[in-house]
Amino acid sequence: MALKKYVATRLVTMFGVLMITLLLTISLVGSNMDTILKQGVVFQVRAEITEDPSIANSFASSEEFEEFVQNQIDQRIETLGLDEPWYSPQRIGLTMYKILLLDFGNATFLTSDSGSSDVKEIILEKLPRTILLFTTATIIISVIGIFLGALSGSKVGSVIDKITSSFAIISSSFPVWWIGMLMIFLFAFVYQIFPARATPPIPSSDPDYIISLLYHMTLPLITIVMIGFGAWAYLVRNFMVGIMQEDFIMSKKIMGISKKKIIYRHALKNAAPPIVTILALSLSGSLGGAIITEAVFDWPGMGRLYFEAITVMDLPIIIGATYILTVFFLISIFIADLLYGYFDPRVRTGQ
């Protein structure tokens, strides 16, 4: 019963956060969006009128003609509902309703590889690539991290522990994207093994595309893993150090159970709840970090899309991508919360 209530509260909070995020995004870009939409209408109306020379000829003076054009523009703006400011409840409500149904409209400048300017299609094309790169990286990172962490956590003060800990501390202060630049310098300039730009040169319809994509993925993948696993190992190590001091581990040691068995069977099992929770969180966190990393490697995913959209102020894409990123982020926080509540009963009873 308590778990159900816990899940329900979390769900409501998450939905609230999603709405607030949307509202914030819209209010931040709203006034810009308004001007762009209105300019679009003006452009469209003028284009339609100049297409038909007979309209212009039917006016005696140019002032009258200008007045007519202005009227047409005002009418169009009114029918589209743009005469009301962007912060009017109806317009915000309508925009949010559309976005909730994943209707992001058309992009202003950017297109997908296949040439579509539908924001949903663009995002659907880019999202799998980001998931491919970052999820693979996170999984590799967590596997290396857990083993290394368990190993050094069980041998506090040993050489491997010292190396792991210092590597973790040092790597945590290096920006991933800078290491990315160094890796490009090293493996694309000094030793020309990997390409400097991670976008495959062949179209996505080509059968070799997947292979090419994987080859281009290697350099970013190595970089992300290299910078990431240290922090993981350190985290797992610290959990392990705590657990290895617990009485039940001590008693197992006295009972003569082999050390390996204690580490992997008993200690790691007890460290699992926080580890799983952090795994869920870092999966989503990696998506957020993708923006800069993808910009460095020119990886054709969500992060680069977001960055490109910001540079040219393509608002529908900015809103759409923010929404999708937030949804992913919230889902993983939600899962992390649930796991935490499931593993640790104190949380869900609110003590």
Partner: protein, 455 residues
């Protein structure tokens, strides 16, 4: 956690190698900051993005110290601005001569040379440029008259080595060379050995003579630039900027951003969390829900949108970073406050009728100070790397060039795939070292506060 006195923390800290290392790095960084602020005028730094300021510097020049490790020396960029001045007058004719002497000891020809000057004269004086080479050969480069002016005027000009009349003059003197001058550029001719086309090492003298008739002429500004491929301690970038200036000035900026954001967000989180934990009940519930909302906002996309739509001013950026920085601290300090609340002396204080604000500030907050200091130290690198990341995306404040902005430019000009390591390595190293100093300090404190980690 709370049983450690400040004195004990200090003692433990001075024993920790990591803590000492962190403090030492920090001291070095602070020294660098002071040196930067004192020695480099702020105009140089605020003109970072103004190409006009860097016109006499070389393009993508490698750091000068690289020559120490090379057998074939790369020509260094020389900016000569202190000529030896001689003024002679004989009858009606007066001559001002500026002499630039320099040692050219490299195994490659210079890129170019530029003579920039401003002359104060009346009439139409004659400007003559002559080079005296180490082998005694004298080459005439130019003799031209400055634009005629009846009244006294100031004329500013840059004479480039690509000037066609210089080349023509040199070709006329081709009998001094044992090889065909062909299509060689003027600097390749001037700095070449007479017999074969190899760089000639030694002391060169550039002689600039200004002949005037019946007038008092002056050359108030006179610089000779010998364009090289190596420059200064840190080299230059594609836009000719001296990277040493950017790197030095980046230090106080990064420290300022990091420390201000860290202190602001930890203070905010601490007070927020303690207040929620101490008040409890409905207040706690509402405050923590709000905390959850901020926690669930994706920080980087929001920071990007904020800096694009509102402003990329560095001070606002510090505010934005703080908005996303206090959440974690608030959560932890709330749970700590919950623990402390149950202790006897808080009850006692309440029973004595002390004000709630006094209880929070007198009895609860001081207990959390060690944790607060550790969190400040740990938050600094995050703030610095986030700002660097935003700058890297091109969203930095253009009037304050940070390390992230240097890396942004490096990325835009493809420095990594062009092998311009001196443009990429130092800014990133500085970011990493600065972060490391605080990580060291934070970890050392953390070990003292959570003895479990030490065992």
């Amino acid at each position: 956690m709370s049983s450690i006195s400040p004195q004990e923390i200090k003692n433990e800290f001075t024993k920790s190698k990591m803590g000492i290392a962190g403090i030492s790095i920090l001291a070095i960084l602070i020294t660098i900051s002071i040196v930067a602020i004192v020695t480099i005028p702020s105009e140089t730094f605020s003109g970072w993005n103004n190409p006009g300021n860097w016109i006499s510097y070389p393009k993508v020049a490698i750091p000068g110290w690289v020559n120490l490790f090379l057998i074939e020396k790369i020509p260094e960029h020389k900016i000569l601005d202190e000529p030896i001045e001689k003024i002679e007058t004989s009858g009606q004719i007066s001559v001002i001569s500026h002499q630039f002497g320099f040692n050219f000891d490299y195994d490659d020809f210079p890129n170019d040379f530029i003579y920039e000057f401003s002359a104060k004269y009346s009439g139409a004086p004659l400007l003559e440029i002559v080079v005296i080479r180490p082998d005694g050969v004298q080459l005439e480069l130019l003799s031209t008259s400055l634009p005629n002016s009846k009244s006294e005027t100031i004329h500013t000009e840059r004479i480039f080595s690509t000037d066609e009349s210089i080349r023509k003059k040199l070709v006329l003197q081709s009998n001094k060379f044992g090889f065909s001058l062909g299509k060689l550029s003027s600097e390749d001719i001037i700095f070449s050995q007479a017999e074969n086309h190899q760089p000639l090492k030694g002391n060169y003298v550039y002689l600039i003579n200004l002949y005037g008739v019946e007038s008092q002429n002056e050359i108030p500004k006179s610089n000779l630039i010998i364009g090289g491929k190596a420059f200064g301690i840190m080299g230059t970038d594609e836009l000719r900027r001296d990277l040493a200036v950017g790197l030095l000035w980046g230090t106080p900026l990064a420290l300022f951003i990091g420390i201000v954001v860290a202190i602001a967000s930890v203070t905010m989180g601490l007070i927020y969390g303690v207040y929620a934990g101490y008040k409890g009940k409905k207040t706690d519930e509402v405050l923590m829900r709000f905390n959850d909302v901020i926690y669930a906002l994706p920080a980087l996309p929001f920071l990007i949108i904020l800096s694009v739509t509102i402003s990329n001013s560095i001070f606002l950026m510090i505010g934005f970073l703080t908005i996303f920085g206090w959440v974690g601290v608030a959560k932890v300090s709330r749970s700590m406050a919950l623990q402390i609340k149950t202790r006897g002396y808080i009850d006692a204080a309440e029973m004595m009728g002390q004000k709630k604000s006094k209880i929070i500030f007198r009895h609860i907050l001081p207990q959390l100070l060690p944790y607060a200091f550790a969190s400040i130290a740990i938050s600094v690198p995050a703030a610095i790397t986030t700002e660097a990341g935003l700058s890297f995306l091109g969203l930095g404040d253009p009037s304050f060039p940070t390390w992230g902005q240097i890396l942004h430019d490096a990325n835009v000009y493809g420095a990594a795939s062009r092998g311009l390591w001196w443009w990429i390595m130092p800014p990133g190293m500085m970011i990493a070292i600065t972060g490391l100093a605080f990580v060291f300090i934070g970890n050392a404190l953390d070990v003292i506060i959570n003895p479990k980690l030490r065992r």
